[in-house]
Amino acid sequence: MSRIRSLITVSLLGSMVFPTAVAAQEMIADTTSRKQALTSWGVQFEELEYRYSDDDEELGVWSADFFYGTDDLKVRWLTKGEYAIEEQAYEGLENQLVAQVPISDFFDAKAGVRFDTPEGPDRTYAVLGITGLAPQWFEIDANLYVSEEGDTSAGLDAEYEVLLTNYWILSAAVDATVAFSEDREIGVGKGLVSTETGVRLSYDLVDRAFSPYIGVVHERKYGDTADLAEAESDSTEDWFAVIGARIAF
C-alpha cells in the first residue's frame, strides 16, 4: 500500500514542472552487461569411462551435458553412449536437446527432443522432465518420453554423494527405465525395463575439473525386456568394473 502511495507521489512529482524530473531523465540508463541477465555455460562429463564386464565385454561409456543460458532459461545438450569395443558398435547412443526453466527453488522443468541412434533401429522421442536437488541432497532427474512410434516410457536417475574427505568422494547412482507400452523392435518390453546401478570412488585431482575414479556398475533387464533379450541371446544382467574420470570445464 505504502509502495503504491510512494509510486503515485513519484509520478505526481514527475508530471509537475520540477526541473529535477528533467535532470533525472538526462541521467544515463544502465545498458552495461550488469543490467542484462548473466549468461553462463558449462560442460560436465559425469561419466567418461572404460567398462570391463564379468563376460569379458569391454565398453567405452560416457554421459555428459553441456549447458548455455541464464537463470531463467538454459539450453542443455545431454549425450550418453555405450560403445562395444570389440564389436566396434554403439550399444547405446542417445542425444537430448532440451530447454530448461526453473519451477521451484531447487527444481527445473525441461522439454525437448531425444535422438537414439545406436546400432540397430533409431528412435526419436519428445522429452518432458524435471531435474533438481531433492531433500537430503539427492540429485534427481526424471523424464517422460514419447517416441515417434507413440510408445511412452519414463526414466528416473538419482545420485547421492558421500564425502569421505573433501577430495575423496563416493558417489552412488541409480538409473531406472519403465515402459508403458512395448517397443519390440528395440527390445523394450512393457513394465520395468532396466536398471543401472553404479558406485564410484573419485578423487578431485584438479579442482573439480578432473576427478579420476574407479567403480562397479551393475546392469539388469527385467520382465518382458529380459525375455526379449534372452530370445536374442543377449545378457540380462552384467557386472562391470569401471575406470574413468569426471570432467568439468
Binding site: 510512494s6 513519484v10 512529482l13 520540477f18 526541473p19 529535477t20 524530473a21 535532470a23 533525472a24 541521467m27 544515463i28 540508463a29 544502465d30 545498458t31 552495461t32 552487461s33 550488469r34 543490467k35 542484462q36 541477465a37 548473466l38 553462463s40 555455460w41 558449462g42 560436465q44 549447458f67 537463470d71 526453473p102 521451484s104 527453488d105 531447487f106 527444481f107 536437488l133 531433500p135 537430503q136 541432497w137 558421500v162 564425502l163 569421505l164 574427505t165 573433501n166 577430495y167 579442482d207 573439480r208 568439468a248
Partner: protein, 561 residues
C-alpha cells in the same frame, strides 16, 4: 548560518587559493605473484595493488586515468563523497573509460581518512584492480601516532573472476573444500550422540543448505599489500613508537579476522570516519570496510599481523618489526566455521515451497534439538558465551578472540564527531537480502538487479534502511555517494560508515541523509553476489543540480570544521 555563508562566498571568490592536485593512473595488465602461484591480473601504474593515493582534505583533485586494457574500465572511489558523475560506476555514473582513453576525474576532497579505489567494470576488481587512498585532514588528528602504514588485505585466487563466476554458476560448491565429511559425522556422533548427529544432518539436508557454507570462494592466497604469507610484507617501527595501521579489506569475497599477537589494538577509525577509541584484541573486517588501529610496540621484537578468513580457509600474514628480516611465530588457523540453525533464522519459515506441512513440523522439531546441541559443541558451555548483537544468537560465525579477549563489535563503534544532526528518519525502506545458494542467485527483495526498478529517494530526506538477511551468508552492503549511519543504538553517536556487513539471520538498520543528487549504486560488495544480482540503482530526486550540490556540501563541511 552566517559562517556557512561566509565560507561559501570565500570559496567562490578565491578559487585560486584552493589546493589542487593532479594525479595519474594507468590501468594495466600486470603479473601478480602471491608466493603460491603467479597469475595475470589487472593493476594500476603497473602493479596490483595500485599505488596509495595521498590526498589532502580541501584539495581539488584531477585524476587522469589511462586505460591500457583492451576492454572498458572504470575507477570507483570507495567511500568518497563526490558528484555522482565522478563516482565511476559504468551505466550509473558515466559510460566508462574506453580502451586507450584517458578520463579525467575531477572532484573536491571533502573528507579525511582511509579509503580505497577499485574498478567497477566486470570482474576487474577481483582480478586485482584496486589501490588505497589516504586523505590527510585539514585540522589535527584527534589521536597521536609516529608512523603509519596502509595494510591492504586481498584474497588473490588462481582463477580469473570470470571463471570463478562461471564455476559457481555451474557448481555452487565448486570451491568449497570445508564441507562436512564422513569423518566429521563420526566425530560429531561421538561428541553429541549418534541420533543427534543424524537429526542435525537431516535437518540441514532437508533445507538443502550446508553448515559449511561460510565462504563461497576458497582456494585463495590471503595477501597484505600485495605480499602472500611467505613473502611476508614487513612494516618497520622503532620500539616505543605508536604505529597507525590503516586496514583496508579489498578482497573479492573474504572477511578477515585480524589480530597481532602480543599487541593491543586501539581502533580509532572505521570506514574513514574517526570513532571513539576502543581497545581490542581482534576485529573482523568485512569486505570493502576499513579500520584504522593504533598499536604501541614497546619491545625490540617482531609481531605478526595475522588475518584469518572468517571461514578459516586461508589467511594473510605480515610482520611489524624493528628491522627487516625479523619474524614472529605465525599461529595456526582455527577450525573451520560451521553455521548453526540460528544463522538460518532469517529464512522465511525455512519453507521452500516444495516441502509439505508434515515436513515442516518435523524439521522444526529437529531444529530445536540440533540447535541446542550445536550451541554446546561449537561454543563450549553456556556460561560466558560470546555474544555480539550484530550476529544471530548462537550463530556459528560469532566472532571469538583467539586469546579470549576483546573482539570488536559494531556495537563498540561510536562516532568521534557526528557528521549530521540527529533527527527522525522520514521513512523506512526494507531491503531483504535474498538468494539461493544452489542456483547461485543473489538478489534484494527476491529481485535481481536486471529485473529491478531503481530505489527512488528524495533529496533532503533521511531514510532508514532496514536490512533483513534471509540468506546464510554475510553481505557487506555498500551505498555509494552518501553515508551509511549504522544504528548501533548510540543515537547521535552512531558510527558513519560506507559499508555495513549484515550477518546471516539478522536485521540491521542504517540511516542515510539523502544529500547527494544524482544516481548511485547500492550493492553487496562480494564480487560474485553483486554480479549475480544483489545490486540496486538509487536515484536521488530533487535538490540542487549537481554542481550546486558540490558547493553546498563543501560549505557544510567547511561549517563543521
Amino acid at each position: 548560518m552566517k559562517v556557512r555563508l561566509l565560507t561559501g562566498v570565500l570559496s567562490l571568490l578565491m578559487p585560486a587559493l584552493v589546493l589542487a592536485g593532479e594525479y595519474n593512473l594507468t590501468v594495466d595488465r600486470v603479473e601478480i605473484d602471491t608466493g603460491d602461484f603467479v597469475k595475470e591480473g589487472i593493476g594500476y601504474n603497473g602493479k596490483s595493488p595500485g599505488p596509495v593515493l595521498r590526498f589532502k582534505e580541501g584539495e581539488d583533485v584531477r585524476i587522469n586515468v589511462t586505460n591500457n586494457l583492451d576492454e572498458m574500465t572504470s575507477i570507483h572511489w570507495h567511500g568518497l563523497i563526490l558528484p555522482y558523475e565522478q563516482d565511476g560506476v559504468p551505466g550509473i555514473s558515466f559510460p566508462g573509460i574506453e580502451p586507450g582513453e584517458t578520463f579525467t576525474y575531477k572532484f573536491p576532497i571533502q573528507q579525511a581518512g582511509t579509503y580505497w579505489f577499485h574498478s567497477h567494470s566486470g570482474f576487474q576488481e577481483p582480478d586485482g584492480a584496486y589501490g588505497a587512498i589516504v586523505i590527510e585532514p585539514e585540522g589535527r588528528e584527534p589521536f597521536r601516532y609516529d608512523r603509519e602504514y596502509v595494510v591492504q588485505l586481498t584474497d588473490k585466487h588462481p582463477d580469473s573472476g570470470e571463471r570463478i563466476m562461471r564455476n559457481l554458476k555451474m557448481m555452487p560448491d565448486y570451491y568449497n573444500r570445508e564441507q562436512q565429511t564422513v569423518g566429521e559425522f563420526f566425530s560429531n556422533a561421538s561428541e553429541n550422540g549418534l541420533m543427534n548427529t543424524v537429526r542435525d544432518r537431516m535437518a540441514w539436508g532437508d533445507m538443502r543448505m550446508m553448515k559449511a557454507d561460510v565462504e563461497d570462494v576458497q582456494g585463495f592466497t590471503g595477501m597484505i599489500n600485495g605480499k602472500g604469507p611467505a613473502q611476508n610484507w614487513t612494516g618497520l617501527f622503532e620500539p616505543g613508537e605508536r604505529v597507525r595501521l590503516r586496514f583496508i579489506n579489498s578482497s573479492a569475497m573474504t572477511n578477515f579476522d585480524v589480530r597481532i599477537p602480543g599487541l593491543d589494538m586501539t581502533v580509532v577509525q572505521a570506514d574513514g570516519n574517526n570513532v571513539q577509541p576502543v581497545n581490542v584484541d581482534e576485529f573482523r573486517i568485512g569486505v570493502a570496510e576499513t579500520y584504522d588501529v593504533i598499536v604501541h610496540p614497546r619491545h625490540e621484537q617482531a609481531y605478526t599481523i595475522f588475518a584469518e578468513s572468517m571461514g578459516r580457509s586461508g589467511f594473510a600474514r605480515a610482520t611489524l618489526a624493528p628491522e627487516e628480516g625479523m619474524e614472529a611465530p605465525v599461529p595456526p588457523m582455527r577450525d573451520p566455521a560451521r553455521l548453526t540453525m540460528a544463522d538460518m533464522a532469517g529464512m522465511p519459515g525455512m519453507d521452500h515451497g516444495d516441502m509439505d506441512h508434515g515436513d515442516m513440523s518435523a524439521s522444526e522439531g529437529m531444529d530445536h534439538s540440533s540447535m541446542a546441541n550445536m550451541d554446546h559443541s561449537s561454543m563450549g558451555g553456556d556460561d560466558g558465551q560470546p555474544s555480539d548483537p550484530f550476529y544471530a544468537k548462537g550463530s556459528g560465525i560469532m566472532p571469538v578472540a583467539a586469546n579470549d579477549g576483546k573482539f570488536l563489535s559494531y556495537a563498540d563503534l561510536k562516532a568521534q564527531k557526528p557528521l549530521y544532526e540527529e533527527r527522525e528518519p522520514t521513512r523506512e525502506i526494507e531491503l531483504r537480502l535474498t538468494g539461493n545458494m544452489e542456483r547461485y542467485t543473489w538478489s534484494i527483495n527476491g529481485v535481481k538487479y536486471e529485473d529491478a526498478d531503481p530505489i527512488r529517494l528524495q533529496y533532503g530526506e533521511r531514510v532508514r534502511f532496514k536490512f533483513v538477511n534471509e540468506t546464510m551468508m554475510t553481505h557487506p552492503m555498500h551505498l555509494h555517494g552518501m553515508w551509511s549511519i549504522l544504528d548501533v543504538g548510540a543515537g547521535k553517536w552512531n558510527p558513519i560508515k560506507h559499508t555495513v556487513s549484515v550477518q546471516p539471520g539478522t536485521t540491521v538498520y542504517m540511516e542515510t541523509e539523502v544529500d547527494a543528487p544524482g544516481q548511485w549504486a547500492f550493492h553487496c560488495h562480494l564480487s560474485y553476489h553483486a554480479a549475480a544480482g544483489m545490486f540496486r540503482k538509487v536515484i536521488v530526486e530533487g535538490g540542487p543540480d549537481s554542481t550546486q550540490a558540490k558547493t553546498d556540501v563543501a560549505i557544510e563541511e567547511g561549517g563543521d570544521a
